[in-house]
């Protein structure tokens, strides 16, 4: 199918598909690679940002941890009065503005033997510092996480974030440090010192994270509770696990588990609210066991590069279009002369050799081809000119040959009956040359009033040389035939004449006879010619005996034997050349001597002219379409006798 399309189409198809392929591969690869680079960079940035934020958070937390720890250490090592303790806590708050509230809570009877519960609490209210007693029956501080967990674990603890309902719904977390006292040299747990801090500061640190347009950070507690998030309704209401359950998202659950286990990492993620594709980097906050995550949306991250590649694709499309136009143009410059050439050669093929070839200026393959065509056209013209000349020459030659034929025919006697004044014999001959000019001839003439010389000959070869040789032979025979000479002598002399200057080594077979018109006796000599047939009065046809005479013109000094026969009145002698017996049909079968004899037997009673005509027709019928290969010549001599003349 493609092979039927135009060259332009094929070129465009090829160039476009290969260009699209190359463009696509290059663009796809570089797009992918660029994305990876950007992502890697962004990941690194996000990780650094996360680490920086974590460090800032840690700085805040560490400061609180340090002062609280030193208060706990102090309390463990010294006993103090109630007033001293209250002052100490108040001062602790005054000196540490980041701390929102603080209590020193004791184990039952640990403060002194008379006090079951003792837990004085100071907290800020506006600019003031207020006192509250946690050791009320209804509060039972011993059961609260801030007390119980560090007590059971014997290590300082950051509590889960919680809303302080008394202090205007501020999100808080409490750092609790166990107090150890020494009783009899043994370390003993006495109670807990706490420092409540507002998470507002931490929330600000996290919420100040802005990446790209909508990238953000969020913080989860040890339990996976969302502590900060741009969506307010998630804060403290949801754990990441809850979000995962609500969505049936087991992967999110696994990520959240990694986060609360204190692992860090970077993973493809999706926004918790919009479920947009994001990349997330998460880092633990070591002191609390919380985790900070930074999300940046992929589409924003890739916005620039997407824009770039959109532009590049548009450019590629424009480029391809331009390329196609260029291909159309270039293929036009190639195919236009080709098309013109095709038209011109078509004209030439139709015979208009003077059709102008399109001018080609370029020296490329098309130019060379056009040049080739030009040379071809020139050669063709020359050739045809020559051919015309040759044809003219040939025609002239043919007309000359036809003239030669006419001349040849004209030198053969053609008036039948030839001797109307001689009733004692009749003679009829016909010649059908194979070519325009043949090598057969026959002749008859009177030597004297009682002797008729007759000749049947066949010159070797055909055409002009044969006819010339024939003319020479005929003339020589006629010149040689004189009264009293025998046919053998005639042939002997003519042979000597012919052979002496026969450089072309042509030869001629001759049957030559002399009829005594008075007696019907015939003297004859045969120089290699086909034996004639004798037709007697009863219509019997028989070949004459073959005689061993050589053909004329080959060798000098040969003498021929004279032979004789006698014709009764009504008997005939039929002479012919090998064109008769060797006439061929399309099956390459010969007419043959046998057939000749048979045909003649059937025609024996006919007048001689009719006999020859019918026979000629038979031979032509036999040959049919087959090409006539040789001259066909026949001659019949009929002796009628003296009686009829009387």
């Amino acid at each position: 199918m493609l092979r039927n399309k135009s060259l332009t189409f094929k070129l465009i198809l090829f160039f476009s598909t290969s260009s699209i392929l190359i463009f696509s591969i290059v663009l796809a690869y570089s797009y992918r690679y660029s994305r990876e680079i950007i992502q890697t960079d962004q990941e690194k940035d996000a990780r650094n940002l996360a680490l920086m934020k974590v460090m800032r958070i840690e700085t805040v937390l560490n400061a609180v941890q340090k002062v609280t720890q030193s208060l706990a250490d102090h309390l463990g090592n010294s006993s103090c009065s109630k007033e001293e303790l209250l002052t100490m806590i108040r001062t602790f708050l005054e000196h540490n503005p980041e701390i929102y509230g603080s209590t020193v809570a004791f184990e039952p009877f640990a403060y002194d033997k008379k006090t079951l519960y003792f837990a004085p609490y100071f907290h800020r209210k506006g600019r003031e510092i207020e006192f509250a007693d946690l050791a009320k029956e209804s509060y039972s501080y011993l059961l609260w996480d801030w007390y119980q967990i560090p007590k059971e674990l014997l290590v300082p603890q950051w509590s889960e974030p919680y809303y302080d309902e008394g202090g205007g719904n501020i999100l808080m977390t409490t750092y609790s440090v166990p107090i150890y006292g020494k009783v009899g040299g043994q370390k003993r747990f006495r109670g807990i010192v706490t420092a409540d801090i507002s998470l507002e500061g931490l929330q600000e640190i996290v919420s100040s994270i802005k990446i790209l347009k909508t990238g953000y950070g969020f913080l989860i507690s040890k339990n996976g509770t969302l502590v900060t998030h741009p969506s307010q309704e998630l804060i403290m209401n949801e754990t990441l696990f809850g979000v995962a359950e609500a969505r049936g998202d087991t992967r999110l659950r696994e990520i959240a588990r990694k986060m609360i286990k204190g692992e860090s990492g970077s993973i493809p993620f999706w926004d918790l609210v919009s479920t947009k594709n994001c990349w997330m980097t998460y880092t633990p906050i070591p002191s609390t066991g919380w985790s900070l995550a930074i999300l940046f949306p992929m589409d924003e991250l890739m916005a620039d590069i997407n824009r770039l590649y959109r532009t590049m694709i548009i450019m590629a499309v424009i480029g391809l279009t331009l390329l196609s136009v260029a291909v159309i143009f270039i293929s036009g410059t190639i195919t236009r002369p080709l098309r013109a050439m095709a038209k011109a050669t078509g004209d030439i093929a139709n015979g208009n050799l003077d059709s102008a070839l399109p001018p080609v200026k370029s020296r490329d393959e098309v130019g060379k081809m056009a040049e080739g065509f030009m040379i071809m056209q020139k050669s063709l013209k020359e050739y045809i000119q020559k051919l015309t000349e040759t044809t003219a020459a040939k025609e002239r030659m043919e007309s000359e040959l036809s003239i030669a034929h006419e001349i040849q025919m004209s030198i053969l006697p053609k008036n039948f009956p030839p001797f109307s004044d001689r009733p004692e014999f009749d003679l009829y001959a016909v010649i059908e040359p194979a070519r325009e000019v043949g090598g057969d001839f026959y002749d008859f003439f009177q030597i004297d009033p009682t002797h008729l010389c007759f000749v049947m000959a066949d010159v070797s070869g055909k055409g002009v040389p044969a006819s010339l040789f024939m003319a020479v032979t005929k003339t020589l025979i006629k010149a040689t035939a004189k009264t009293g000479i025998t046919p053998a002598e005639i042939l002997t002399r003519v042979n000597n004449e012919l052979a002496s200057e026969n450089e072309a080594i042509m030869f001629v077979t001759i049957f030559c006879g002399i009829l005594n018109t008075g007696t019907g006796e015939i003297l004859y000599a045969n120089a290699g010619h086909n034996p004639p047939l004798l037709i007697n009065k009863e219509g019997k046809v028989a070949y004459l005996q073959k005689s061993g005479g050589l053909v004329l013109g080959v060798m000098e000094g040969i003498s021929y034997q004279v032979e004789s026969l006698s014709l009764e009145a009504g008997e005939s002698l039929f002479m012919y050349t090998d064109g008769v017996t060797e006439a061929m049909n399309i099956q390459k079968e010969l007419f043959s001597a046998e057939r000749l004899q048979k045909e003649l037997s059937m025609l024996a009673q006919r007048p001689i002219q009719e006999m020859v005509s019918i026979l000629m027709q038979r031979i032509k019928d036999f040959s049919g379409e087959a090409l006539k290969s040789d001259d066909i010549t026949m001659m019949v001599l009929q002796y009628k006798g003296k009686e009829t003349s009387d």
Binding site: L143, W144, Y162, E165, N237, E238, F241, E245
Partner: protein
């Protein structure tokens, strides 16, 4: 430091339409108090209320959310409420002490109270509990665990447990108390996977104490048994509606939680509602819905007597008012 505050608006919201419509169709007034603030644990009542089932049964009901400040027992004792949701073992103790409480429906058929351990702490069977620190809630929450430890003869160190599971999460105790419909899910949503936990259900250890039931004073019942029956029927219908309309029920629950200014977490409420179905509906015996089986009663009463919380077991026929038997009479 965590308390539940209930808005006055809730009362207004609950009361105003009820009052308006009561006048229209001469509904019988009634007050119901569940143990705790609105959550899926009481889905049936809120759904019945919201879907107008109480009105359908001729009641003009007011739901007073319970909580630390409002105990159903107090409200029933002081007749501030007609009906209340109570644990079987709490009610039984009160009856034994002389308060004439009558169970008019045993809603939960199984105990939701459970113990849970982390497999990571090496606890896979009850025998592994020996010498471990166990977080236990107070009072009746300790009856089943202590009975269990006794039954399997394990010695544990009991640590009082607060309302948070953080002590357990941080490793302060190896075994914690949990309600299947509440704290257990909190554990899951704090990042623990079910396969990392060893749950111990009391109903799997012959210690099934059916929990929430509907109670009223004997005199309340006697004064108007029809009202009590109507309340039970409407409530049970509410429960069945809730179980077959999960999302709608969750919407209703969350609406009431928001009104009560209780943090609402839909996933958590969903879990709770699903567990309620497990606890309330006995798929093998549909007739058992809302009924107290004497075997359950005797088991709980027997345990209470064994540990000396009651001296005599109150008679089952006086304690439990089987509405179906009474209806047949």
């Amino acid at each position: 430091m965590k308390k539940n505050f209930f808005s006055i608006f809730l009362f207004l919201f609950l009361l105003i339409p009820a009052v308006l419509e009561a006048e229209a169709v001469h509904l019988k007034k009634a007050v119901f108090i569940p143990q705790w603030s609105p959550q899926a644990q009481f889905a049936g009542y809120y759904v019945a209320y919201e879907k107008g089932l109480y009105k359908k049964y001729g009641l003009d009901l007011t739901i007073v959310p319970g909580g630390p400040a409002r105990s159903p027992l107090d409200y029933l004792t002081w007749k501030k409420a007609d009906f209340g949701s109570l644990w079987l073992c709490s009610a039984l103790q009160k009856r034994a002490e002389g308060l004439n409480l009558v169970n008019i429906a045993q809603v939960m058929q199984k105990s939701a109270l459970m113990l849970v351990a982390k497999k990571g702490s090496g606890i896979k069977t009850i025998q592994d509990l020996n010498g471990k620190k166990v977080g236990l809630w107070r009072d009746e929450f300790q009856i089943q665990p202590r009975a269990l430890f006794k039954k399997y003869n394990v010695k544990v160190k009991v640590i009082p447990q607060s309302f948070s599971v953080n002590l357990f999460l941080r490793g302060g105790v190896e075994l914690a108390s949990a309600m299947w419909y509440n704290e257990y899910h909190t554990l899951l949503n704090s990042g623990l996977n079910p396969e990392e936990l060893t749950p111990i259900f009391f109903f799997e250890h012959g210690l099934n104490f059916p929990e929430d039931g509907i109670y009223c004073l004997e005199e309340t019942l006697k004064k108007d048994p029809d009202r009590a029956q109507a309340f039970v029927r409407a409530s049970l219908e509410g429960w069945l509606y809730a179980f077959s309309h999960t999302e709608e029920t969750l919407d209703i629950i969350i609406k009431f939680m928001t009104l009560a200014r209780v943090p609402a977490n839909r996933v958590h409420q969903h879990w709770m509602l699903d567990r309620m179905k497990d606890l309330i509906v006995n798929s093998h015996n549909k007739d058992s819905l809302g009924r107290l089986k004497e075997a359950d009663y005797q088991r709980v009463a027997g345990e209470l007597k064994k540990i000396g919380l009651i001296k005599e077991i109150p008679q089952f026929k006086f304690f439990y008012y089987d509405r179906i038997n009474h209806a047949q009479k």
